[in-house]
Amino acid sequence: MDFNLTPEQGMLQDSLRKFLSKEYGFESRRARAASPEGFSRETWAQLAELGLLGIAIPEDDGGLGGDAFDTMVVMEALGRALVVEPYVSTVVLGGGTLAAAGSASQKEAWLPAIVGGEKLMAFAHGEPRSRYALAHVETTAKRDGTGWKLDGKKAVVRDAPSADAILVSARTAGGAQDEGGISLFLVDAKAKGVSMRGYATQDGGRAAEVSLSGVAVGADSLVGAADGAFPILERTVDRGIAALCAEALGIIDALNEATLEYLKTRQQFGQPIGRFQALQHRMVDMTIRAVETRSMAIVAAAGANHPDQAQRRRMVSAAKAHIGQGARYVGQQAVQLHGGIGVTDELIVSHWFKRLAILNATFGDAEHHLGLFSDRLLGEKA
């Protein structure tokens, strides 16, 4: 058992923090989010230069061969700075999935370009009627000569408007709720029949409703085996969740620091409001949540690394549930303790709060994962 960062992780953390504190102040972030693409290509190139885009990509594919703990280090820092660049979509979900399940030619075509910052990706899996059920896929892919033809709608596809390629799940067999019969395709975002209704997100990002209307893709666009993508999707989502848990950790720590500072400086009734015991105990409860969030973000990363599917899902759901609950508590209380200024757009506090709320709604909220964890108890032996 070892809870220490490796020297490499320590260096990574330092350099990333330094970069972000210099380049990524709140106003600068606001400008990126308000720009037409919703993020900065320049920053993306800098992240590539720092080597961040290859962290979790295998060395054979031009990356640094890291694991979920390395991603955790990155995401914690990105969370604190509220980075809007499409790191999770492109690197964790896109690159990670291709690295784990892509064909040799898919890897060759995409991974070095991802590491180099030249290509962006999106992950289009959830659908308007799927809620958080991973196996619910109504989008279809039908054999069409040697290739496939895709039809359907994908919901709230993060970073789709800027993506070069989109990973699209589609049903190739079975009923709408079956785990079997799902296949995964790598689709050119500019392919004929792909259309998007793009929009901003509540947390300053970008997403789109993606429609697929008779989109023809070749046999080589299949990622993994036909009908057999469900385990790949599960792993992708688990890696994504672990990354989001680390992002939440960065935000929760930042919110607590800001709130503590506010308690020490804001004067009411002739003293700093941090002198009031009721607020002190609230701040302690928030601190406890932060300490536990770090533990559970580690659990999520260890889960994402875990070879056993059941263990992996159990750990990831526990972490997503616990961190989701903690994020809600800390986010709401940080706003509350800031008082009126906390509900304005002017302070970063409300932006952290909103990002936490959106993290909670991504890949299943706290209640969803508590339910998954609970239902898993039925399978336990006495």
């Binding site: 709720q177 509540q202 009411q268 509900v343």
Partner: protein, 400 residues
């Protein structure tokens, strides 16, 4: 004891219901039910309608134009308005400054201002909080210096709601600096058209503009607009904050929101192709908030009934209603956002305009929900934060 409404109360409810059904414009109630933006004219149109009916100020004494309703009738009216999707009657004139003028104002003030509040001719906003004086209102710094027949007002107010539409603002200003902070404050009525007043919007966390800062730079206010005595404004301020009971719990709005939540849960997909409301876990959370709302509703009615009988409840009851009412409003808004799952993620502010005809994202009802959840966080902060309310209960009611 009897929990049933009396026959007279039921008849009253029917009368109110019928009147609203006939008089509330459908396009306005559609906006309210759909969580769309309301403009100045939406508020004013309904205000004028109710004013004509004599119902715009349910809590006012009949001598000033109130309808003479009991507290329970006021609650029924409140619920019927909320259920029908009526815009709220903004409290700043009717429920805040008017009772102060009735209690502390002189004859001329009463004669001039009260009818204009009733008719809607004057839109009022409030000038209480300052950046450094929130919970600790008595530490306010805005100054009013007497010069002849005028006060010269300088300072900055914040958390001003919808001041961009207002004709008048009531202001707490410091007219003396000796003594305890509560002493030396005066209560002034200020015409928003007076030179030197600047209204600056504050963008809120939901991206909307509802709140402002109001700056005063050498603003001349006639001494005739002082309410009550100079330096005794704290009495007015406390009266204003403690006055309002009816509606403070927001039971009517909570009931409407609960109904909306259930409608959404019946429409949203849950697991296995079934509607979300069939998901035991989500439904239990609705059940919990519905039960909490029942407790609030009957607590509210108990407090109102006691007041109606002259057993006027002391301040602590109002604090309890405020705390629980806001907690339940917040819980409802959170559940609504969660009900729509990933469709809480898009930010499509144009969809909040009733006339917008663009391509929506997800179900129609989804667009306002996240913003509503974010915005509702303010309710446990404003009007005396819930922490302050608990201090009030601890001190006044429990003697701690």
């Amino acid at each position: 004891m009897d929990l049933e409404f009396t026959a007279a109360e039921q008849a009253f409810r029917q009368e109110v219901h019928a009147y609203i059904a006939k008089s509330l414009p459908a396009e306005i109630s559609a906006k309210v039910h759909g969580g769309k933006r309301l403009g100045r004219e939406d508020y004013m149109r309904w205000h004028r309608t109710l004013a004509k009916q004599g119902w715009v100020a349910p809590g006012w004494p009949t001598e000033f134009g109130g309808p003479g309703w009991t507290a329970v009738q006021q609650q029924i009216f409140d619920e019927e308005c909320a259920a029908a999707g009526a815009p709220r009657i903004l409290p700043f004139g009717v429920k805040m400054v008017a009772p102060v003028i009735m209690r502390f104002g002189n004859a001329a003030q009463k004669q001039h201002f009260l009818p204009r509040i009733l008719s809607g001719e004057d839109w009022w906003c409030q000038g209480y909080s300052e950046p450094g004086a929130g919970s600790d209102l008595a530490s306010l710094k805005t100054k009013a210096v007497r010069r002849g027949d005028h006060y010269i007002v300088n300072g900055q107010k914040t958390w001003n709601t919808l001041g961009q539409f207002a004709d008048w603002i009531f202001v707490l200003a410091r007219t003396a600096t000796e003594g305890r902070p509560q002493e030396g404050i005066s209560f002034l009525l200020v015409d928003m058209k007076t030179p030197g007043i600047t209204v600056r919007p504050i963008r809120m966390l939901d991206g909307e503009h509802e709140i402002n800062e109001v700056w005063f730079e050498d603003v001349k206010v006639p001494v005739a607009n002082l309410v009550g005595e100079e330096n005794k404004g704290w009495t007015c301020a406390k009266f204003l904050l403690g006055h309002e009971r009816t509606g403070i719990a927001g039971v009517g709005a909570c009931k409407r929101e609960l109904k909306r939540l259930k409608e959404i849960a019946r429409m949203e997909p849950g697991g296995g192709g079934r509607p979300l409301i069939e998901d035991t876990r989500f439904r239990d959370r609705i059940a919990q908030v519905e039960i909490d709302l029942m407790a609030l509703e009957f607590t509210n009615l108990r407090v109102l009934s006691a007041e109606g009988e002259g057993k006027r409840a002391p301040g602590p009851e109002a604090s309890i209603l405020k705390v629980r009412g806001t907690e339940i409003q917040q819980a409802l808004s959170e559940l609504m956002m969660q009900a729509v799952g990933v469709y809480g993620i898009p930010y499509v502010p144009e969809a909040l305009d009733a006339g917008w005809t663009g391509e929506g994202v997800g179900a129609d009802y989804a667009a306002p929900l996240s913003g509503h959840y974010f915005n509702m966080r303010k309710t446990s902060i404003y009007g005396g934060s819930n922490e302050i309310q608990k201090n009030i209960v601890a001190q006044l009611s429990l003697g701690l």
